[in-house]
């Protein structure tokens, strides 16, 4: 038997000596934290009197339900992907592919809803009116503002996790954060036009997701 001390024996001794019990990661609990944060944001938004005034009418419109169902699907998949990817044995890549397919499916469904309820108004002026750029920019800004706290919360959770694909986790986290922000805002936003939503919500998703992709890996490296 060799009495040679390996270079890492001292380190092992030090790590074992400083060992403290740890609380294991529980992804469902982390999902509950995100849900609670969404609840707080929604309560604050509605409590401040921002709920859309035509809510009873909106609830009879297919486009309103398309908006809620689409955002919920995107949130469910992206949040699950982001949180599961914090386990080093799991890759977010499959989840990201599913997110892309889901977004495409939501857009196709939106096109169908649009075709059913809009009498195919065409022409540059009509398109411009449907896009309502001034309101659209306000919507985009509000969604980004609502997404930032969720993105920060995800950043904290991700820092505690151990993602081995920082870029993939950051993409998923960005989509998830913007999804939560957009869902909260959906109850305040008076616009249900699929074209409007695809453009302005899409811009907000893009800003938050690209921001997360650029910033999160800087704090996630371990």
């Amino acid at each position: 038997m060799s009495s040679e001390i390996r270079p890492d024996d001292l380190l092992i001794e030090r790590l074992a000596g400083s060992l403290r019990p740890v609380r294991r990661r529980r992804p469902w609990l982390e999902m509950a934290v995100l849900g609670a944060l969404f609840g707080v944001e929604l309560a604050l938004l509605l409590g401040a009197g921002h709920m859309r005034i035509d809510m009873p009418h909106a609830m009879g419109m297919p486009s309103f339900w398309w908006k809620l169902a689409g955002l919920t699907a995107i949130i469910a998949i992206s949040s699950t992907t982001a949180l599961l990817s914090l386990d080093p044995t799991r890759s977010p890549r499959l989840g990201l592919r599913v997110i892309v397919l889901t977004v495409l499916a939501v857009l196709v469904a939106g096109w169908g809803v649009d075709a059913a309820q809009t009498a195919w108004l065409t022409g540059g002026e009509t398109l411009w009116r449907r896009l309502a750029p001034q309101s659209g920019l306000r919507c985009t800004r509000t969604i980004v503002e609502l997404a930032v706290p969720v993105a920060i919360a995800l950043g904290v959770l991700m820092r505690r996790g151990a993602s081995v694909d920082l870029a993939g986790s950051a993409w998923a986290a960005g989509i998830s954060a913007s999804g939560w922000g957009a869902l909260a805002f959906a109850f305040a936003c008076p616009f249900d036009d699929p074209l409007y939503l695809a453009v302005w919500y899409g811009v907000a998703f893009g800003i938050v997701t690209i921001g997360s992709r650029l910033l999160l890996p800087l704090i996630l490296r371990w």
Binding site: L11, A16, L19, R24, R25, L86, T89, S91, W222
Partner: protein
Amino acid sequence: MAAAQAGDAQAYRRVLSEASAWLRRYFARRLPPGMIDDAVQDTLLAVHLKRHTYAPERPFGPWLAAIARYKWIDRLRHLRSAPTELLDDDVAVEGHEEQVTSAHALERLLAHLRPAQAEAIRLVKLQGFSIEEAAMRTGQSESLVKVNIHRGLARLGRMVREQADVE
């Protein structure tokens, strides 16, 4: 590891010792000998810091292997920016097996690069030549040697990550 998560230092010492032996073999096949000690200790530290992410209902091996692979890729990435150290002509070498395996693995990866990139990496990063010397030996300009090293290492990194994804 589950016992270690609950604070059992004895169990933790045992699992880290077994892990370090495995990590030593793992990195010996993938890194130059001079980087193995640092890589093993870096990974042990990561295991310690991220031990709460281990799920006891799942096997320990894949969890450790995933962390080791992450640290390995991190090392390769750092290799890109690390300054090159000149080696003495006479270097004492204890054993050859791990070095040969490591060199073989690197050669296999280098074979996938363009010849100019592989040659620049081989001369500067593996054999310790300066950029100027490598430029003279290959007939490339100095800036081209740097570009070839940068692009070659980036490509190696991508290949390793893709391989890791397939595994």
